[in-house]
């Protein structure tokens, strides 16, 4: 049993079509300690979901392809194992909650059956009655009465559906749970409920979690470690405290600045100027340089090294790389 539940080294994912090559994830590395929650934060199109799908080895292929990288799940390299072995890992050791609960459930199967499916898959030899009991327990756990076992997804509200999706994901007590924007499609009033419940269950089951979101409020509430993604790279990585209190990367600063402050009177919200670059046509040098207020000539060419500004706090920006060398 290794100390880190997950270690990712230099992961590269590309979508190749006849017309273009989309660089979705460009060499990201991170690790996650047991029972911790990692927040993967970034704008739409930053490569968060692609990263998650790569961890499940569910990148649709073609056109997607994992070009490079090593993924160690509980010390086991899941990039080298067969699809059959991977299937035994999915749902049991690593499972996923999807963004849109409206479409994540099969509309023509009762929710109970959909929970039972994963239970039976990973507990060969378990009797049907026992699997049913386990599925009912999961429903109760996410706050749905077991009587609704035989009901269909269309009989549930959005928040309830997401609870069912969570029940499916946690049914086999996975060691790692990937939650891909689990609250984005829900009403604000339901968001907090669902998030709260996820945190409680995660602590109960001792699961580690990767929480993908673009909501910094959610990050502050639920994460221990945060990785800020931009254009398929992790531009800043550190503990929650490091990221919130001592953020360094201009992009992270821009992200936090764009949250309106209730105490000051502002007329317009602050935004980061410009748009996320097209991932099939990324800029040279630092990917953020066209939008960066501190951009220098040096930023426009060459690779940007990762600097460790304090223990465990990594920043991918030239400002700090130089400072790091000086010190």
């Amino acid at each position: 049993m290794s100390e880190n539940i997950l270690e990712v080294q230099d992961l590269v994912v590309r979508y190749d079509t006849d017309f273009e090559s989309v660089h979705a994830v460009n060499g990201i590395s991170f690790h996650l300690e047991r029972k911790q929650t990692l927040g993967l934060v970034g704008e739409t199109g930053a490569g968060k979901t692609t990263t998650a799908m790569a961890l499940m080895r569910l990148i649709p292929s073609p056109p997607g392809r994992i070009i490079n990288g090593q993924i160690l799940l509980d010390g086991q390299d899941i990039m080298t194992i067969s699809e059959k072995e991977m299937r035994q890992i999915r749902g049991r050791k690593i499972s996923m909650i999807f963004q849109d609960p409206m479409t994540a459930l099969n509309p023509v199967l009762p929710v109970g059956d959909q929970i039972m499916e994963v239970v039976q898959l990973h507990n060969k030899g378990m009797s049907k009655a026992e699997a049913t009991r386990q599925a009912m327990r999961m429903l109760e756990m996410v706050g749905i009465t077991a009587e609704r076992f035989k009901e269909y997804p269309h009989q549930f509200s959005g928040g309830m559906k997401q609870r069912v999706v969570i029940a499916i994901a946690l049914a086999c007590s996975p060691e790692l749970l990937i939650a891909d924007e689990p609250t984005t499609a829900l009403d604000v009033t339901i968001q907090a409920q669902v998030l709260d419940m996820m945190r409680k269950l995660k602590d109960e089951l001792g699961t580690s979690m990767i929480l993908i979101t673009h909501d910094l409020g959610v990050v502050a509430e639920a994460c221990d470690v945060v990785a800020i993604m931009y254009a398929g790279e992790i531009v800043e990585y550190g503990t929650l405290e490091q990221i919130i209190e001592r953020k360094k990367h201009p992009y992270t600063i821009g992200l936090f600045d764009s949250i309106p402050d209730l105490d000051t009177d502002v007329h317009r919200l602050k935004a980061i100027s410009g748009l996320m670059p097209d991932p099939s046509n990324l800029p040279e040098g630092c990917k953020f340089h066209p939008r960066c207020p501190f951009c220098t000539e040096a930023c426009k060419t060459g690779e940007v090294p990762v600097a460790e500004v304090e223990p465990g706090h990594l920043v991918k920006c030239l400002q700090f790389a130089e400072r790091g060398q000086e010190a």
Partner: protein, 333 residues
Amino acid sequence: MLKYVIKRIISMIPVLLGVIVIVFTLMYVSPGDPAALKLGTEATPEAIAQLRAEMGLDRPYLVQLGDYILGVITRFDLGESYRTGAEVSAEIVGRIGITLKLAFISMAVGSVLGIALGILSAVKQYSFIDKIMTVFALFGISTPSFWLALMLILAFSVNLGWLPASGSYGLRYWILPCATLGYQAAGIIMRMTRSSMLESIRQDFVTTARAKGQTEGKIIVRHVLRKALIPIITAIGNQFCYLLGGAVLVESVFSLPGLGKYLVDGISNLDFPAVTSSVLVIALISVVVMLVLDILYSFVDPRIKATYQGDALFKARKKALKEGGEVAHDSKQ
């Protein structure tokens, strides 16, 4: 649900009445005189007029129509054949079996083949197999059945001598007609299966199933096909109804004494009761098949069942609103 079925059965009545009126009228206005046809070219005008009076053809159109409808409704009497003088109902009962058998076997062959190949084609989209299947299906859809029937006879009966070309005396006699109709049905069902599968294979719940660690084969059958079934069973039902009426050519080519052949013979002999009654029976079977389809839908897709029930719920509430002014809130919600 029961209410819905009863409602649907009641709504069949105007459909069937409409069918009677249209077919009866078409036959009435069609050129030619059944009495003259029956007596042959040598008959005197007096003899023809006498026969017309006997057959009731000299009465006004509305009286004839009303008489026929009344006979059907009150006595299940489909009239007497002008040609043979026998009861039409007895003649139809004797022939419907052959047509139904032909339709059932053909549809069974077509459905199994069509769904299996459709799944294969969807799973291997754009592959070589998919393209071969597409050609196979398009050939089935676009080939006229009589031509295909003749070609099969040429190949398997005339040249190879493996199978009989006509008649209906045993299983061997059914192979070629059912292959002809089954292949056509398979083409349409295969295309429908393919497109419906492709639509549901890209949906998020498939990714959910993969994330559970489910195998691809089980995902296809349990999740994708189940979701894709509605358009497929619709196509099967439509094909079945089409076969009932459309088997005419194949029945003629293979000399199968079925309902289709009876209908065609009836038309060429101006046998009004035979034609109207045959069409009525085909229409009746078709509306029953459609009803069975609609009931099947609700078993395949629970959301459709909910709309059937929801409709009744909605009406009950509207009624309650009208009567009492206020509706008690459903405690379940």
